[in-house]
Symmetry: C2
Subunit: 452 residues, 2 copies
């Protein structure tokens, strides 16, 4: 028979078992952390009606969409988790309780040009809090706590949650009479890290934006405000009373900063950063970025912000919200490339491989059943192979423990258990063996998931 | 602005938060149970190249496939998890260790005619064990243990894993010289439960299959063999020595039955059932079905079997395997329709709702942080609403505990905690409150996930 060469599409991540286990471990942390903060899991269809999904979209996004017809239906694959959330909240408005807090970890699709590190199918891990009409500022203050908990649970210490408020920026540009140009200015200022202040100034004074030198200097002076949270807030207070929107933004930023300690966020993991604007016009208040201090080249690993109207394309209800998103597939890819995924954590499909050494398997199977009942992930290896091949298999799957069960052990009521890392072998009864394995596994699991 | 009416496509399940939590709970049991038996999680793309995905497919399947072009690519959405597994194993053959045990819980797509209870996007939850060249029969004996563990962990007692062996059937038809007709015969016999023996006999002797009355009687006598496992095996031994394939099948069936007790499977949850053939021509040895004894109308909730060549369309390697699949979305839908999902288990997004009664939120936020650090899922409610509206919210999300924190409590170093189920309120310090909540949650979580 002619064979079809198996292949996986370019831009689609398909992991081998060991890295898949690493990915699962990260997803588990995300699910558990989001749950800890009272977010409910949601799962919406990958396919939506094009007219519903694309009610808002246009331009670059629309070009990338996987859109097709099936029968009479014009269908599209979701390209983010926000539009499906907007649809969900508008559709199920009467059945939901607000504030509605949901998390969703799901695949989204964008037909981007294939290149290294760019994915066409990728996971986003989003949380959002949606209010009905209003949403208290404390929700915005809570978001950095969730980001902190997420990344510290993943094992990181040297990361920084950078926060700004769009109202402060908009208000500041309002003071200078530059509201019309604020979009262009923010896009330019956003490049500060990459191109430096001189080039930013040149662009601001260039043909397109055409600011006066005084205005450009004002802006550079403003975004150069740095220091501790208290220092930045004190500097911002100097601008107070000149613009209503600025004052509102400053009050919000103070509220966010006020409760940092109560939310358990160490000062070194948080910074007010006036250069952050977030590309999307969507955000209206607090905005967030998260960077790994030793790996700035990765860019923001978790971003988001406050928006005023989630579902305006579907409903007249005013649904303000705040949310953050982790581009999980890209993050996982970059962490792997940079060798930042901790390979010392177990990735085997099982904790124990049971190798029966007798023809009758009853004792080995009973032992496997006992191990499983005690919560130990157990694989029974019963293929007719030579001992050496069995050990090669144990090594290849990276199983932490191997148990040998021969006549002698069965008669003596003991179990021979080999620690595959140290080579150390014990002969204990099954209860003591289980205790030893559990202690060993707990030790193995202690390491950070992501290295620094 | 004109609004687009939000809607979800017909045939696509989109759950409200409470049922979504029930679904998540089931998925968690599946993930944990499969892991306990040494299966590694896998995640393959939803989209595959059409020529790869459809190397084998044809007929009814091909018509249902979501197929489309993007740029120059002819793409299809996966319609099951088996073909992607075959592709995966063939593609990554050199990097995998065999036997390769994987589980996958993922969405698949079939553009079926929309009707109640039929889904176009649905989850399958599959496990498979793939051997390289050979695969020991003990793997087939282990599968019922996994099915038993899965459904008993979901809270069920009254279910039966029904097992047969295709070689026994093929061998038996071989004895009668009816090998050519065995496919037609098995498809007819499969209807026994629905149409009864008389109609089966009529069809067997009808124009199409045209058996003699003697042959039809032999077949009906054979499939009428019932009783305990020992009784059925004893009756089958009466046919031994007449056909090689039959004898091989009987030996396999005996091996599967032999280790039931060691695998921890109670006798009442297992039955040899000679009427089971499974529609697919794919299976070559042991076949499995699982039925809920009090709900036969649901049909098999977990089916599968042994196959000889997983990836013959992609590789010359002989890759025999055994696997089972749960049609999770359909099962969940049917359980919901039949009111078999236990609504007494908590489905709230949080275990505790913290309601601050002071203007400064520091104490309430610190308490929420402490609760979360102890693993309690906590939501902080800070909207400016009347007390009654706050309690309505607590009721609507179904949160098990509400904590009120006013000046008095803060000054006294205590916490007022209301059990929302019983209405009982305690005033204890935070450590005692956490202990009480944890004990209460453990009690709430005790119930079965699926009712009988």
């Amino acid at each position: 028979m002619a064979k079809m060469t198996p292949r996986t599409l370019s831009g689609f991540m398909e992991l081998l078992p060991a890295p898949q286990q690493q990915m699962e471990r990260i997803m588990k942390v995300l699910r558990e952390t989001y749950s800890l903060y009272g977010f409910t899991p949601l799962d919406t269809p990958v396919i939506e009606s094009s007219e519903v999904l694309l009610a808002k979209a246009g331009g670059e996004t629309e070009k990338q969409i996987y859109r097709f017809t099936k029968g009479d239906s014009d269908l599209s694959l979701r390209f983010d988790l926000t539009v499906p959330l907007a649809k969900y909240v508008a559709l199920h408005y009467n059945e939901l309780a607000f504030p509605f807090r949901r998390y969703q970890i799901g695949k989204v699709y964008r037909g981007e040009r294939a290149q290294r590190g760019r994915f066409r199918e990728f996971y986003q891990a989003d949380i959002d809090i949606i209010g009905d009409g209003k949403l208290d500022i404390t929700n915005e203050a809570e978001i950095p706590a969730i980001i902190y908990k997420t990344f510290s649970t993943l094992g990181l210490k040297r990361f920084q949650i950078r926060v700004n408020n769009r109202k402060i920026l908009n208000g500041f540009y309002g003071m200078l009479g530059l509201t019309e140009k604020s979009g262009d200015i923010m896009r330019t200022v956003d490049k500060l890290d990459k191109i430096g202040p001189d080039k930013v100034k040149a662009i601001l004074m260039g043909e397109e934006i055409a600011l006066s030198e005084a205005d450009a200097d004002e802006i550079l002076k403003f975004i150069a405000i740095t220091g501790s949270n208290e220092e930045v807030l004190a500097a911002l207070e100097g601008y107070q009373g000149r613009h209503e929107i600025f004052d509102a933004g400053l009050a919000e930023l103070k509220a966010v900063v006020k409760y940092l300690a109560a939310f358990g966020i160490p000062a070194e993991n948080f910074a007010v950063d006036l250069t952050i604007a977030r590309g999307l016009d969507y955000y209206t208040g607090t905005v967030y970025e998260t960077t790994l201090l030793d790996h700035p080249e990765i860019g923001s690993v978790c971003s988001g912000g406050r928006y005023d109207n989630l579902a305006e394309y579907y409903t007249d209800k005013q649904l303000p919200g705040v949310g953050i998103s982790i581009g999980l597939t890209r993050l996982f890819y970059v962490l792997g490339e940079q060798k930042l995924l901790n390979d010392a954590l177990p990735t085997a499909p099982a904790d124990v491989l049971v190798l029966p050494m007798t023809e009758d398997l009853s004792a080995a199977i009973s032992l496997a059943t006992t191990l499983r009942e005690s919560g130990i992930r157990t694989q029974l290896y019963t293929e007719q192979k030579k001992f050496k091949q069995k050990m090669t298999y144990a090594d290849k799957i990276g199983v932490p423990y191997a148990i040998f069960l021969g006549e002698d052990e069965i008669n003596a009521g003991i179990v021979a258990c080999k620690d595959m890392t140290t080579g150390e072998q014990t002969k204990l009864d099954s209860a003591a063996t289980i205790a030893r394995i559990k202690a060993g596994l707990a030790e193995l699991e202690k390491g950070a998931i992501i290295l620094e």
